[in-house]
Subunit: 260 residues, 3 copies
Amino acid sequence: MVSGVVALLTDFGTDDPFVGVMKGVILSRFPAVRLVDLTHGIRPQDVVHGAFWLERSFRWFPGGTVHLAVVDPGVGTERAALAARAHGQLFLGPDNGLLAEVLARDGSAEVRRIEPSRLALPVPSATFHGRDLFAPIAAELAAARLAFEAVGPEAQPSVGRLLAPPVRGADCVSGSVVCADRFGNLISNVEAHLLDGVRRPLVEIAGITRPLLRTYGEAAPGDYVAVVNAFDTVEVAIRDGNAALALGAGRGTPVVVRSA
Amino acid sequence: MVSGVVALLTDFGTDDPFVGVMKGVILSRFPAVRLVDLTHGIRPQDVVHGAFWLERSFRWFPGGTVHLAVVDPGVGTERAALAARAHGQLFLGPDNGLLAEVLARDGSAEVRRIEPSRLALPVPSATFHGRDLFAPIAAELAAARLAFEAVGPEAQPSVGRLLAPPVRGADCVSGSVVCADRFGNLISNVEAHLLDGVRRPLVEIAGITRPLLRTYGEAAPGDYVAVVNAFDTVEVAIRDGNAALALGAGRGTPVVVRSA
Amino acid sequence: MVSGVVALLTDFGTDDPFVGVMKGVILSRFPAVRLVDLTHGIRPQDVVHGAFWLERSFRWFPGGTVHLAVVDPGVGTERAALAARAHGQLFLGPDNGLLAEVLARDGSAEVRRIEPSRLALPVPSATFHGRDLFAPIAAELAAARLAFEAVGPEAQPSVGRLLAPPVRGADCVSGSVVCADRFGNLISNVEAHLLDGVRRPLVEIAGITRPLLRTYGEAAPGDYVAVVNAFDTVEVAIRDGNAALALGAGRGTPVVVRSA
């Protein structure tokens, strides 16, 4: 049921030793673990950014992977820590919306509130639950020494989806930009399946309109291009350029797809 | 014959989840794989940069390593995907020159064109062959479930070396800067073995001339210093400084080594 | 006694292939190794930064971990290479103060000078001992094929602690900032245990004074907050902001904790 893989998503970056010590803790408990960095480049404290990529990415991991997700501006406050079983995988993270996109897409997802007192853990530091709470639990779950049901009582997340989901209109879909990637490509939350029935789709963003193409290469060099990206959402790029800079667009910029 | 190691070189950076999902795919197919990041810091879409470091680096990996290289501005166009066996290792990458430096140094290298239709792979996305094409094939090759010969027919790369190789003159060698590293050290393509017969070599770059020394420490603090670096090419640095900034030098800056 | 884990701390960054080839070398010698990046984001050539994080971090790794630490501005000079056994773990690094914080906290630490000529190693390059000297030795130690005692003769480090340790006064402790982390939080070398007996501690830094709180969340949004961080030293942050920028503080900025 568990794969022995622990995948990490954080906003810690990799310049500081925070991720390294989390891995040290996991290895100390479960030497055979296979650790994978999903990303540590979530923008600092940007829960929306983390929730989006966690949901778009988990399906590429082996069934039974334990996803440890930490974007946690409220660490040390009373916010709960959650464990979830969804999509055949396990997810750990703070109750701040970080798991919300994953949970929203599995109607039979199970959520539990982590109760450290039930588990034989040292008292966690006030500022680094990634290392002191989530890492040990991830290790124990991945090692199949701790059952999901044993982490704590069933619970409802207190924070839901933080980013408004796209809206399907009569002949169009309205969503928004979630983030730009390294190449300056603008990644929206408009999923491809929402476009069923939109004939000859045109993508509108920041004052420009372009047809939805299949690949970057179909656009003229230097021109904007809209495609469905490899994570199955609408994306706007400039061939050989940086669309985020050129359009001055980013989180929240409206993206509308309508029929030509 | 295969080592079970898959080494990754891309221009994806590590802030986005692109590398993470590639690893998820590889682990899903080959749980015992040992994954190594060679680098994901190749400059975006800079095939020359990737080709250089792939060639300078592969020899430090175990025989039978599968090198998965993705710097792929043409993804989604008709460019072919290649697999190569050279130097006792395997290499996967687009047919855009990325493997050319590796292939140029092994006269008995074998190259095949990957034919996805021969392999039981889902249809790859138009924009992320690293995940949908190269990653699964790397996993299958590293797991020794797929034979090199089975990836597709023999082929000739359609794109050769993109960076002019150094030229050996009567009493000098002329090359150029490939890149600056994190420390601002300027790394040229002038390999040490080309300097055989150049007595008391002097290195000329961007208007300055310095003798070729053995270590940075032989130079005066704050002065320029030319050495043969650990990747066996001529490199120009400033002791305790950033030579790339100080000289305004970078890709393509001529580097000439001549006798004193 | 050894765990099979090799943890890496360097100032190499991850954009260049330097870390990747070190891992290739280690894997070539010890295929079953488990490699962990503690961090490669130590500021270039900043031995103090590396020494601090190595010491604050090692305790989170399994007993018997081999820590390979390379921040080595003197590479290629006559500086010695050291191996140390301390705190139940092994440490490799140049004799330039990088191991000094680790050694200062274990009275029974053993230190040996690495003698490459005793070991069947190729002659190392002049500029990359991380790959040519430390990596092979780390692999052999982690594989338990090389005994710690066999790396070379007992030795005293020639370079001690580079950063003045905090000073305990009658009713206060005086230390300094070591670095800022990704979030701009200012991390000092004032360890929590030094504060025993400081009643109702106030933290002074860069002209401001704040009480020592337990978590960031206890401060008002936008205000400065001083806490004992998860690495057990005093840290000054701004809730939802960047304290390093706001205070213009960094390495060496005095931090004083006194009774209210």
